[in-house]
């Protein structure tokens, strides 16, 4: 299950969603909005998500993880919109009989999500400036 959410991520609810009586090992990854990046102090984060494709690609990532590291349950939610420091930006949870697959599948999912999904992060700095992450070489050169 992959979802994009414009609301605060309900981690308790998501954790319950990967319960299975056969599960013995559970690995959860959370990405939190942190107050620093590359030496600058961050005040807020903003995620832009192109939802139709993000949902499709997100489901593909989970299906591929299931092929590689068979597990029992997995889900992932990614935020869109404005986040305060400490807010959960992405939640990935995997439960399986044993811990090895849970760790590996969880890591695979978050790594792939960061590479493949049409999601962009804008940092708002305390000095009032803002910037799109990973975009040093796009647009700046031709900036108006």
């Amino acid at each position: 299950m992959f979802e994009v959410s414009n609301e605060r991520i309900d981690v308790e609810q998501l954790r319950k969603g990967i319960k299975n009586p056969k599960s013995g090992g559970v690995c959860i990854f959370e990405g939190w909005a942190r107050n620093q990046n590359e030496g600058r102090t961050v005040r807020q984060l903003e995620y832009e998500v192109y939802e139709p494709l993000a949902a499709l690609e997100g489901e593909k990532v989970i299906a591929e993880a299931l092929q590689k590291f068979p597990f029992l349950e997995a889900s992932c939610v990614h935020r869109s919109g404005l986040l305060e420091i400490g807010d959960c930006a992405v939640w990935v949870g995997v439960s399986s009989p044993h811990r090895d697959e849970a760790f590996k599948a969880c890591r695979f999912i978050i790594d792939a999500i960061k590479i493949h999904l049409p999601i962009w992060k804008k940092e708002h700095y305390v000095d009032g400036d803002s910037g799109w992450v990973n975009c040093e070489r796009c647009s700046n050169a031709l900036s108006l």
């Binding site: 494709l53 960061k114 999601i119 962009w120 992060k121 070489r137 796009c138 031709l142």
Partner: protein
């Protein structure tokens, strides 16, 4: 000439000052669309970091575009 709807995302949208526009373009591939709209999105380096989708399916820069297609131009992603 083909009628192509181009959608801009994130920094491309901010640079272009609009979400999308429909243009008459002499474009054979997605890369042609990228280059022909360079004055809008402002990026000088498509391949490797930027991505493209055609009609809501991820595509390659060498993918052919047809009359009536919607081409989505994605700056480098940063999920998580």
């Amino acid at each position: 000439m083909k009628k192509i709807t181009v959608r801009y995302f994130a920094i491309f949208r901010e640079h272009a000052g609009l979400n999308e526009e429909t243009l008459e373009l002499d474009a054979r591939t997605a890369l042609d669309v990228f280059e022909l709209t360079q004055n809008r999105h402002g990026s000088i380096e498509p391949t490797g970091h930027c991505k493209v989708a055609i009609n809501d399916e991820m595509a390659d820069w060498s993918s052919a575009v047809s009359d009536g297609d919607t081409v989505l131009l994605f700056p480098p992603v940063a999920g998580g």
